[in-house]
Amino acid sequence: MDEQGARAFGFHGTWRDYAPIAFTNLLLTIVTLGIYRFWATTRTRRYLWSRTRFIDERLEWGGTGLELLIGFLLVILLFAVPLLFLQFGMQAMIFQGYVGEAMSLAALAFAMIFYLGGVARFRMLRYRLSRTWWHGIRGGADDKGWGYGWSYCWRYALATMAISLPIPWAMTSLWNQRWAAMSFGPFAFESDARAGPLFGRFLLFYLLPIVFVVLGFGLLRMIAGDGALLLMRPGEAPDPRLLFLFALFALLIYGSLGVVALIYYAKFFRVAIGGMALSTLDFRFDARSWDWLRLILGDIALVVLTLGIGLIFLSYRHWKFFVTHLDATGEIHLSELTQSTTRAPGQGEGLADAFDIGAI
């Protein structure tokens, strides 16, 4: 049944094919003051989906720019405008001395936004599945995600209270809950990701500050103590090399934090996607930390070398990365794959859009 190669997923796009889409999208988005970006997203996805093969057939993106715009406008109307009023009211309350009341209102608004962030993650996935077609069949979810929002809130609240140690548990259990609500055709996704294998890498986040403190003390000894460098003596102007040293140290902190995050997320995606199944299909994701590092370094180089214009190619790069590392095993019986009976949402991922979630 395979079209080419042994992998279930394949990507067949080229950046030269995509470039005309990316550049016209950029131009049209600028001259329409951003309104075209919903159509731009749709054109990009149409391209990426249609160049993605699953077993013997390409995927198809069935969404429209108009429904993304409507989703966006709905969110503005229902959430952004009330929040604006809330903010205005809070300023007035602070001006008039009701600081405590203003603070509790702010806390309430924060909780509300956090909850909606969870709902947004769910609804984004639901929308994308409902617009993804393969062999004339689409995905979807019957659940609308309002309950998932609460689950998202309490799990993260609990995890944060316990010095963030249970974060891997919160992430995997939410991933499982989200995917278990999704389906493609008549089949529900199964998701059974375990947090256990993640803790080792997650602990690196706790190790890092200790390393920094030790390194920092070493650095201090080097510059101010009896070390050989003696860049700073009491009563004298500091050596200019000192500034360079501090900049290097700051860069080291940021860089190593990024690398640790990368190492963790690489494992997370392998575990999370590896725990997923659809009917008789089992999914697998094989990107290792090194692959992720190359992706990110490539992103940075592309954006820096093109003075920012490379940004418009990032969604292409990320999708390609995702598809080439995704694989599935098992058989799919096409005659059993019937049309989805889920209700497709009428509008696009406005909430996720408002919270800047999801890059593709």
Partner: protein, 359 residues
């Protein structure tokens, strides 16, 4: 009737099951139908076909009203079949109709017009907003400032004297001193002006205060606060199309770069008001000079001033200095007793809240 297929290059999904069919195509001028032995679809009208784009050399069509129904060709469809088919949308229906470059030009002109309107309209709209609305808005925002306003009978009289000198015909509803540790003054909606306490303790003479106060009175007279509110609202609507970060950055830039004109106009009012009241502008100029030193030197300020909301202090100082008439005998804005009453208002007012502010 004309026919094509069945062969591997023509395929069909019925939208109910994932099974791929290779149908025979039959068509007339009115419509077409598909037949794959175990089932058939149609006849359908040509107008029901929806072209799908971005399919990598293949041609794929959907059917209006039947989601998941697909008809695909490995390359372009058979020629006499294709003449009946609509072209796939490319950039979006409206843009396809007029062409990409013309659409780009048209949108660019429209965008420029919208930006021009949003930047300028607030100045035109603000004077038409009823004063009573603005007053209510200002009251709702500020109230009694949480009891942090300092007032004694003597300070009230001194402020009233300044108001009479600097803005006799401007609808100012209140000038008050706020017990807040900032060297600043603000004009708020509803003709309210707040002088922050540290402005009074930093100022070396009542004439310096008069220059700053007259500047704020200028804002009230030009209804700048209302215009700023309207502009903020308009910008956030127009830039809503962009995502958060881009929109926020552009918003801040436009909102501020425009208000520099308003700041210059307020300085202009201040200079004129000082002249009319026979108060020397030189102390105000010196005050700006001191502010410039506090804010980190002129070069830094000049480098960042394209996005700062106030004109560079050096420019402002020069404008005030130029307006001074050499050899002219100016009168002080307040007597020594009146000035002391202002500076000490916050210590003398028995029931003012402390400045443990949240700012």
């Amino acid at each position: 009737m004309t026919s094509a297929g069945p062969d591997e290059s023509i395929w069909h999904y019925d939208g109910a099951r994932a099974t791929r069919h290779h149908p025979r195509l039959d068509w007339t001028v009115d419509g077409f139908s598909l037949d794959w032995g175990t089932g058939r679809s149609g006849p359908h009208r040509w107008s029901a076909l929806v072209p799908m784009d971005g399919t990598a050399g293949r041609s794929v069509y959907g059917l209006r009203g039947e989601s998941g129904w697909r008809l695909g060709f490995a390359g372009p469809p058979p020629e006499d079949f294709a003449v009946h088919l609509p072209l796939p949308a490319r950039y979006g229906r409206w843009i396809d109709r007029i062409g990409l470059w013309r659409a780009l030009g048209l949108f660019a002109v429209l965008a420029a017009a919208v930006i021009f309107l949003v930047l300028n309209a607030p100045g035109w709209i603000a004077p038409w907003i009823p004063r009573s609305w603005e007053d209510r808005l200002g009251d709702a925002m500020v109230g009694d400032f949480g009891g942090r306003l300092c007032e004694t009978p003597a300070s009230r009289a001194a402020l009233e004297k300044l108001r009479r000198q600097l803005g006799p015909d401007v609808p100012i509803r209140s000038i008050a001193i706020a017990n807040i540790g900032m060297v600043n003054a603000v004009a708020l909606p509803g003709g309210r002006i707040l002088l922050f306490n540290d402005l009074l303790s930093e100022a070396k003479s009542p004439d310096e205060l008069a220059g700053v106060l007259a500047h704020e009175i200028g804002h009230v007279r030009h209804r700048d606060t209302m215009a700023a509110l309207v502009r903020q609202l308009g910008l956030s609507v127009v830039l809503g199309g962009f995502d958060g970060q881009v929109g926020g950055a552009v918003n801040g830039l436009l909102a501020m770069s425009y208000s520099r004109d308003a700041e210059r106009a307020a300085d202009g009012y201040s200079i004129a008001a000082l002249r009319a009241a026979n108060i020397s502008p030189l102390p105000t100029a010196a005050f700006f000079d001191r502010l410039a030193k506090v804010s980190g030197g002129e070069t830094i300020e000049r480098a960042t001033s394209w996005m700062a909301s106030h004109p560079v202090s050096a420019e402002r100082r020069a404008a005030f200095e130029r307006s001074a008439v050499k050899g002219h005998l100016y009168a002080p804005a307040l007597t020594r007793a009146e000035w002391t009453a202002l500076v000490d208002a916050c210590t003398d007012d028995p029931d003012v809240k402390a400045s443990d502010s949240v700012f």
